[in-house]
């Protein structure tokens, strides 16, 4: 026993060392650089990468629409333009574009192995759309030095014009890719994998760009070529739009209009002017009115206030004599710029309707707060980006003789009528609530009578853009482009002392804060994008 102790004692250091090496081997491994919790790049699944690009593209468009909806008075703007166009306002849309590019690069890498021309082509179309949106909103973007951090850690901006030019080329390349046959069928949330429709979209996007830049670089022959090909968005099934669903959780796939207005109570103010335009401006009601807006309460807000014993608390604008304040017939939103305190009117004010947000159709009977209404689409709305009706209006504008249009082929009057009818058809068809054809016809007649009575092409252009503006509800981005390009429709001024109309938005603060390029300096909200050659102060 004693000897054993001696033995142990003598060799203790050795024993300790052996113990150390035995016990510690799991702690001595130093090759642990791959995270056990994240996918490595070679594991990327092409269709999932494509779907990421699709969501980025759609979310950019939705984001920009929600910003511009307020500026163009599709919904109420609370406060000044300066508060709607902050230095951070473009952060999200900007980042989405570059995420598309970096994932498109990945998709192209994967394609060299797997042959994925369709996925790449789709990605190219969406990338082009995203950059065009940045140029339209900001006037410029990083393009030629984008997404190359090793070579260009502080990239330079490109001019809007050069990006437009590059996108025309890219869209042609995309069309080639979309026409090829690949090895993997795409998963596609827009066209369910129908490549012919993607090709139509690519052509239509070009068409839109030509119309948008009609002042700076008119190109009627390019438009005529597309029209002649017939290969563009012409019918509802071709519409490029994001489909929302009624799934409410994990993920929440519902339209933001619906989540804003149908869950706790209405959280958005509609624009008084826009509702007035549909309800009272023409001699007859716009047939889309009950689809666009849902009145929670048909009573006059002051009557409700009286009943509740709170007087005019629900309608602060009566104290300020604002232009519209309460427009009548239960339609009740806010005037442009109204920044008075917000009363507890969430269950009374007018809410988003069935189109495009998937809310409720306003029957005019038994109207009730949105939270108590059951007959709605539960948020399964759409976000319209480029639709057949929009294309008709674009072509109508382009077909007007210069300088109002650029004299492309087609009859503007016919195209205007087709645009209106396509819009009405889509609204009704989407909603599943039939629209009386008599009402549609009557409406078309009124507009065409106005059109026929117009004194000149400018007045005709005003009518075309006004109808386009109504059809665009939900897509503020195109309305914002139209307004800057044509000055139409003639919109209500802010009811409060405002700031100048933003002819473009600020460069995103996130980029300025992290891009050390000294040439990157903030621009002004009154700077005009390259295709906006109209005079300063021409719109407000």
């Amino acid at each position: 026993m004693k000897d054993m102790f001696k033995f142990i004692c003598r060799f203790s250091p050795g024993i300790i060392l052996i113990l150390f090496s035995l016990l510690s081997c799991e702690t001595t491994e130093l090759k642990l650089q791959d995270s056990p919790s994240q996918l490595t790049v070679p594991a990327a699944e092409a269709n999932f990468v494509l779907n990421g690009i699709q969501l980025n593209m759609a979310r950019q468009h939705v984001n920009l629409s929600s910003i511009t909806n307020r500026i163009v008075r599709h919904t109420n703007q609370f406060g000044t333009y300066a508060s709607s166009a902050r230095t951070s306002t473009m952060n999200f849309a900007w980042a989405r574009a570059y995420s598309i590019t970096s994932n498109l690069n990945l998709l192209e890498d994967l394609s060299t192995v797997l042959n994925l021309p369709n996925q790449v082509g789709m990605g190219q179309v969406m990338e082009a759309f995203a950059y065009v949106n940045l140029v339209d909103m900001i006037g410029t973007a990083v393009y030629s030095e984008a997404v190359n951090p090793d070579e260009f850690p502080s990239p330079n901006l490109d001019s809007g014009q050069s990006i437009y030019d590059a996108m025309y080329v890219q869209l042609d390349e995309a069309i080639e890719n979309l026409s090829a046959t690949g090895s993997v069928q795409p998963i596609d949330i827009f066209y369910n994998g129908d490549m012919t429709r993607w090709i139509k979209l690519a052509n239509t996007l070009k068409l839109k760009m030509y119309v948008t830049s009609k002042l700076s670089s008119p190109n009627p022959s390019a438009i005529n070529a597309i029209v002649a090909s017939g290969n563009y968005i012409k019918e509802e099934a071709d519409d490029f739009q994001l489909y929302y669903s009624k799934q409410d959780v994990n993920p929440d796939g519902r339209h933001p209009f619906f989540t804003s207005d149908y869950i706790t109570s209405a959280g958005t103010y509609q624009s008084n002017q826009f509702m007035y335009k549909l309800r009272f401006e023409k001699s007859i009601k716009d047939p889309r009115l009950p689809y666009y807006f849902f009145r929670q309460d048909l009573r006059h807000p002051l009557d409700i206030g009286e009943e509740l014993g709170i007087g005019d608390d629900l309608l602060p604008c009566v104290n300020f004599n604002y232009d519209y304040c309460y427009i009548g017939d239960g339609y009740w939103g806010r005037d442009h710029g109204d920044d008075e305190g917000i009363p507890n009117d969430g269950v009374y004010r007018t809410a988003y309707g069935i189109y495009p947000g998937g809310g409720a159709y306003d029957t005019g009977n038994n109207n009730a707060p949105t939270v108590e209404v059951n007959s709605h689409l539960r948020g399964a709305g759409i976000h319209p980006m480029l639709t057949a009706s929009f294309v008709k209006f674009m072509l109508a504008e382009a077909a007007l003789p210069a300088p109002a249009g650029i004299g492309t082929t087609g009859n503007p009057r016919t195209l205007l009528e087709e645009g209106i009818r396509a819009s009405m058809f889509k609204v009704a068809d989407f909603s599943g609530v039939p629209m009386e054809s008599a009402a549609v016809n009557a409406y078309v007649d009124v507009v065409l009578a106005d059109y026929d009575a117009a004194a000149n092409d400018q007045e005709r252009l005003a009518i075309i853009i006004d109808e386009y503006y109504i059809a665009l509800y939900g897509n503020g981005l195109e309305a914002y482009n139209n307004y800057r390009r044509t000055g139409y429709p003639d919109l209500q001024a802010s009811v409060i002392a405002g700031t100048a109309f933003p002819r473009s938005f600020f460069l995103p603060e996130s980029e300025l804060n992290s891009n050390d390029n000294p040439d990157l300096v903030q621009k002004s909200l009154t700077d005009q994008v390259f295709w906006d050659t109209n005079p300063a102060g021409f719109i407000d």
């Binding site: 702690t27 949330i189 891009n515």
Partner: protein
């Protein structure tokens, strides 16, 4: 600390005692420093438990063997050791102990005399920790050690604290210190797992020269804790002891704002009882609609439809949310020591506290065991096992964001807050959840089981050299539950999130020590060589469910959809280290150390870093005869140079994909859409560990017979090639990356100055004043990019600026500094509306802090009082923004007049001043109301809500009474004490809005939110004050 010293001596004594056995009777007298006999001196024979005490005349008598060593000890004196020679009479003179031979624990558990250290080390009296009712050891450290800064994340019990030792140095990495318990590192910063009653010693190693051997985890300072149970067997003097302590406390909210009670809801002096803001008319008993006269509630509360109410103040509508909290802290510690260096110890601690709202509570159970045994003459085993179970609960913090600015006329406690039919939230604003509903139907629970096991096998090769192997594992399972019921406007679906966070730190260490190698008579060498393998393993595993089915039942089966929570990672560090100390006589001590680490987080090519340190301590009072006889009792000069490493976090070198299995819904297939996207983080395969360097000089002195005691350190720390988490321009395709670049320097000074005004140890009146002064400045010296966002887009690192300066939006001004006023509205124009770049607006770092502790004692009574003052340091306050904006505090009570903002008219589009016909600027003359001033205007830019947060605070007062031995003679108790204390009793921050009573100490993201933010007030839970009564008995 002394126990440890004894243990060493005893061990050494054991080894040398073999072969001597001539017993005889020795007598003698022990004198004090003045030559007077000293009664009650403990005398024991080294290596045994045999001993005696001197009698009233200082005499003793003992049977002892020749060659054995007598150890004489008495409180306040140095221990004398005298070898028994041929003489039968051994007299001794005790020397006053002015901490000269204090033993402190340095890196890797190496024990050294404090005087031999070339760097700053501070020990905290464990009695201070023990007497506080606070469950979190870190919170008690506030103001106890110079250079240590403690911030609580909020006033909820169980909020994690943020401890910073000697400033933050890393821009993107952790700045939290390392906690070492019984010689081994523990995981993370959950300092509230530690049982404060079981702490035998707490030492803070501040600088790099002190912590080099701990490796990279020690770079932010080290808090070294020795537990009582971990000391089992260390002292043979106390054979059997039981210690019982109990503390009862109450607590109350400390910083509610002072509300105005003149005006109620509305705007512009007009009543509107549906508004958030209280800018309505003055209260005059007006009849107004009832708050719940809302059509939504027509069916549930028909009685309120069309009902009216009187418009009046409800002064206590906020304070009524708060109650008295209470706490009970109990611990029992048992230890038994045996002859021959064996011992066992066990303790049980129990804490049960309820915060200032009943939904906030903390319960903790600690079970601690320790044992030491001598396996053979040379082989010993020392084991410490600590177990804790901690439960905390609180409601969601959303509760507080609304609570403090509810309208002054809202009688919230006498109105229903839930629908009697379906429990949905009922509030005067249907778009907000009622705070009472949130208090009841949301919650967050955390239950943590933590086990720490350390075993230390030590082999004494000779009496001077030893070899040891230490193994430790510290693992905690934190089970998190947080839930938000449905039926409220914030979380329509309701959710339940449950996940277990497991953190395990395993440590293996082998050490070889060789002490007292004599090179001639004057020179001695001490050598330590060691190797260490440390592994940190973490995982999260759990589930997030949405879509509550049955209201208020928290089980995942009660939800319609589920999403997994899953993540894990591992990082290993291997280290080799060595330390060489050269002692020259008893006045010069040179220590040189170095460590090389290999880490698993960088790529292999960059995984090694060597970092050395050196320090020198000189004691002139021992060096020059006679110096000590003048007014200087003791003088030590020290200089240290230290380095340390910081390895990058794991998984930053390789590109990964973000995958989302539920990104959206594909309406063609009705399946969830899956996405794979490149991560927006750009990895850096070249990332390497960063090197920190620090030079420290110090002076320690005692003057005028111990009247003045000063310890002073000054240091400069340089962190180069920082591992920076840098934002990338989104246009590069990535938004974040990690780089090695930049340099941060800290210059700092720490002074501890104690004045012993009256010194009558034992019997008379004692009064000492301890002052601690801490000042430092951390500057970003080099940065390769324009700026780095440190926290929340508010704290930034910018070259040439202090660490963490505030940068944000501001009021537009002309070139002369006049405010630019919008000529149409009379309001200030904001920088961001003009697209102006943000600018630096303030510095959240304090200029200096000073703590003053007065301690009075007379006989058995001790009274102490601690004041803290912090000078400078800005805060960005969301509380100020919300409270002033809503007009609820007395700060905005004066409001019926109109205001003209001083400034000149400016163009709101260009930001240029508007000029009159003569080309002169036009002074603003536009009147605006207080409502516009505060609501729309002053609070909307960052500049408007940044304040200087200087604060003076009465941190605590405590009164304790030691029960005299006479009274305990006939009881089983050996000693007993009573302590009454009050904490955080009063504070004043003179430059904050007066009536907001904002406490700058509960600001900022705590370690719950491990960012390096500073001075950020996101409307945290308010702080509390606490009163307690403690009893401690031993028998």
């Amino acid at each position: 600390m002394k126990k440890v010293y004894y243990a060493c001596l005893i061990l050494m004594g054991l080894m040398s005692s073999v072969g001597w056995a001539q017993e005889k009777q020795v007598t003698g007298t022990v004198f004090d420093e003045n030559g007077l006999p000293l009664p009650g001196v403990n005398i024991i024979i080294e290596g045994t438990t045999t001993g005696t005490q001197t009698d009233f005349d200082g005499n003793y008598s003992l049977r002892v063997n020749q060659g054995q060593v007598l150890l004489m000890s008495f409180v306040g004196y140095q221990t004398q050791s005298l070898t028994v020679g041929s003489s039968d009479v051994i007299n001794a003179t005790m020397v006053l102990d002015s901490s000269l031979s204090e033993i402190v624990i340095t890196a890797q558990g190496i024990k050294r005399e404090k005087k031999a250290l070339g760097y700053a080390v501070s020990a905290v009296d464990p009695a201070v920790i023990e007497s506080k009712p606070e469950a979190d050891v870190s919170r008690i450290l506030t103001g106890k050690v110079s250079g240590v800064e403690v911030n609580a994340g909020g006033g909820f019990l169980g909020s994690q604290t943020n401890v910073i030792i000697r400033s933050k140095n890393s821009i993107s990495g952790s700045n939290q210190p390392l906690y070492v318990v019984d010689g081994a590192p523990i995981s993370g910063g959950r300092s509230y797992d530690i049982d404060g009653s079981n702490i035998a010693s707490l030492t803070v190693l501040k600088g790099l020269a002190a912590s080099t051997l701990y490796g990279q985890d020690g770079r932010n300072g080290v808090i070294v804790i020795e537990t009582k149970t971990g000391q089992a067997g260390a002292s043979t003097q106390k054979k059997f002891e039981v210690e019982v302590s109990s503390k009862s406390s109450i607590l109350e909210v400390a910083n509610l704002p002072e509300f105005q009670n003149k005006y109620g809801q509305g705007a512009d002096n007009t009543i509107n009882t549906t508004y958030y803001g209280t800018w309505g008319a003055a209260f005059a008993g007006q009849v107004v609609p009832h708050h719940l006269s809302i059509v939504d509630y027509a069916s549930s509360f028909p009685e309120y439809q069309g009902a009216t109410d009187i418009y009046r103040a409800i002064p206590n509508n906020v304070s009524d949310f708060f109650d008295l909290g209470r706490g009970q802290n109990t611990s029992v510690n048992i230890s038994k020591n045996f002859e021959g260096g064996h011992g066992v110890s066990a303790s049980v601690g129990h804490v049960d506290q309820v915060g200032y709202i009943p939904q906030n509570s903390l319960r903790r159970l600690n079970l601690n065991f320790g044992g030491r045994t001598q396996l053979s003459n040379k082989l010993s085993l020392n084991t410490s096992v600590l177990f804790s179970n901690v439960y905390t609960r609180r409601p969601t913090r959303d509760f507080f964001t609304l609570l403090t600015w509810i309208p002054r006329n809202l009688d919230i406690h006498n109105l229903p807050f839930e629908d009697p039919n379906d429990n949905s939230s009922v509030y005067y604003r249907t778009t907000q959840a009622n705070p009472r509903w949130l208090q009841k139907y949301t919650g967050r629970e955390e239950t943590t089981d933590r086990t720490y096991v350390k075993s230390d096998l030590k082999y004494n090769i000779s009496d001077k050299s030893s070899f040891s192997y230490l193994y430790s594992i510290d693992t905690y399972n934190e089970v998190n539950h947080d839930w938000y019921n449905s039926r409220n406007p914030y979380q329509e679906q309701g959710y339940l999130r449950t996940f277990t966070e497991t953190n395990t730190t395993t440590n293996h260490r082998v050490t070889y020590q060789h002490n007292d190698i004599s090179l001639g008579t004057d020179l001695k060498l001490n050598v330590v060589l060691g190797a260490e393998a440390r592994s940190k393993n973490y995982s999260f595993l759990g589930m997030f469910s949405e879509g509550e089915i049955v209201f208020n039942f928290q089980n995942h089966d009660n939800y319609t959809t589920h999403k997994p929570i899953d993540g894990r990672g591992i990082s290993n560090t291997l280290g080799l280290y060595g330390e060489l100390r050269v002692d020259y006589q008893d006045y010069a001590y040179l220590t040189m150390a170095g460590r090389n680490d290999w880490g698993s987080t960088p790529e292999i090519k960059n995984n090694s870093l060597f970092y050395p340190s050196a320090s020198l301590a000189l004691i002139p009072t021992s060096m020059f005869e006679g110096l000590a006889d003048s007014f200087v009792d003791y003088l030590k000069l020290r200089i240290g140079f230290g380095t340390s490493a910081n390895f990058p976090d794991p998984y930053l070198t390789r590109l990964v994909l973000d995958a989302d299995a539920t990104a959206f819904v594909n309406t063609f297939t009705n399946n969830n859409l899956i996405t794979n996207s490149l991560s927006s983080f750009l990895p850096n395969p070249d990332i390497k560990p960063e090197l920190l360097k620090e030079v420290e000089i110090g002076i320690e002195t005692k003057l005028f017979d111990n009247f003045i005691d000063i310890e002073m350190s000054a240091y400069k720390r340089i962190t180069k090639d920082q591992i920076l988490s840098s934002n990338l321009a989104a246009s590069t395709g990535y938004t974040r990356t990690i780089i090695n670049a930049g340099r941060v320097d800290t210059d700092g000074v720490e002074i501890d100055l104690t004045l012993n005004l009256f010194q009558n140890p034992g019997t008379g009146f004692n009064w000492s004043i301890n002052n601690q002064f801490t000042a430092y400045e951390t500057t970003v010296v080099e940065l390769p990019v324009d700026r780095i966002d440190i926290s929340s887009g508010l704290n930034y690192a910018i070259e040439g600026e202090a660490y963490g300066v505030f940068r944000g939006t501001y009021y537009a001004r002309d070139d002369e500094g006049n405010l630019l006023i919008n000529p149409e509205t009379g309001k200030v124009i904001f920088s961001d509306a003009l697209g102006l770049e943000d600018k630096i607006l303030g510095d959240p770092n304090e200029d200096w802090r000073w703590t003053n502790v007065n301690t009075f004692s007379y006989k058995n009574i001790t009274l102490s009082m601690q004041w803290d003052y912090i000078h400078g340091g800005d805060i960005w306050s969301r509380s100020a923004s919300n409270l002033l904006r809503r007009g609820v505090t007395r700060d905005t009570e004066n409001r019926e007049g109109s205001y003209i903002l001083p400034g000149v008219l400016g163009d709101p589009n260009t930001g240029e001043p508007i000029l009159d016909a003569n080309g002169d600027k036009i002074a603003n003359t536009i009147q605006i109301g207080a409502n516009d001033l505060y609501f729309i205007n002053l609070m909307d830019v960052d500049e408007g809500i940044i304040y200087d947060a200087s604060v003076i605070r009465l941190r605590d007062i405590s009164l304790s009474y030691n029960i005299p031995g006479k009274l305990l003679d006939k009881t089983p108790f050996g000693s007993g004490s009573l302590t009454f204390s009050g904490n955080n009793l009063w504070y004043r921050a003179p430059n904050l809005p007066k009536y907001m009573n904002l406490d700058p100490e509960v600001l900022g993201p705590g370690a719950d939110n491990p960012t390096n933010g500073k001075g950020l007030d996101f409307q945290n839970d308010p702080s509390y004050k606490q009163y307690s009564l403690g009893v401690k008995l031993t028998f």
